[in-house]
């Protein structure tokens, strides 16, 4: 039961790919900052993201998606959340792992 927080663009850093290797049932993935680009529906990582959406809960920070103009371009099944829900996700999971650009 881990909350994975991704803030690196998958186009610049393998953080998403590495995170995907260790996802388990009951985990959740939260996309923040440039990590939100991982959910672009026509992007190179859409296939991977769809697979992840089928496995665990995937959320994206609404403010960061809006800032980047990608709110309407995200893969189906990715849930928009605010800071309050981020806190709720953190509380609901045993631990968090941060995946940022190396």
């Amino acid at each position: 039961m881990t909350l994975h927080i991704l803030n690196a663009s998958p186009f610049a850093d393998p953080a998403l790919t590495q995170c995907a290797r260790v996802l388990a049932d009951g985990d959740a993935l939260l996309l923040v900052g440039d990590g939100t680009y991982a959910a672009l529906e026509d992007g190179a990582f859409a296939h991977l993201m769809q697979g992840i959406v089928g496995l665990i809960e995937v959320c994206a920070l609404a403010e960061d998606c809006q800032a980047r103009g990608i709110t309407a371009r995200l893969c189906a099944g990715v849930r928009m959340v605010g800071y309050r829900e981020w806190v709720e996700l953190a509380v609901r999971h045993e631990k968090s792992i941060s995946w940022f650009g190396a």
Partner: protein, 113 residues
């Protein structure tokens, strides 16, 4: 502790080593997991100019003395960089993907540096 950065390009690996040793010195059970370019800190023959940095491999050799339980390295990251198990210090444990997932599950807290 999870480290994914290359050793000399930033201070992250050095910071990770310092923090791991500090935690170990205070008797916290701590393991250091290296993924992506961070596995390059395990290369032998590192010889940085003393003005720039200490050899991070030598620093990592002191981890056990400071109570750090394990140094773990991602097998996939090693293979991508052409490193073999024989290139690594003896006390490094190499993990496949299933063992990586198990390692994350087993630890109560994961600190990314």
């Amino acid at each position: 502790m999870l480290c994914r950065s290359a050793p000399y390009g930033s201070s992250r690996v050095r910071d990770a080593l310092d923090l791991a040793m500090a935690l170990g010195a205070f008797e916290q059970a701590v393991s250091l997991l290296l993924m992506d370019d961070a596995v390059l800190m395990l290369l032998p023959d590192q010889d940085p100019s003393p003005a720039v940095s200490k050899s991070l491999l030598k620093v990592s050799g002191a981890l056990e003395t400071f109570g750090v339980s394990a140094v773990l390295a991602d097998a996939d990251a090693l293979a991508k960089r052409g490193l073999a198990a024989t290139d690594l210090p003896e006390d490094v444990t190499v993990l496949g993907t299933a063992e990586l997932a198990e390692t994350f599950a087993r630890h109560r807290l994961v600190l990314s540096v």
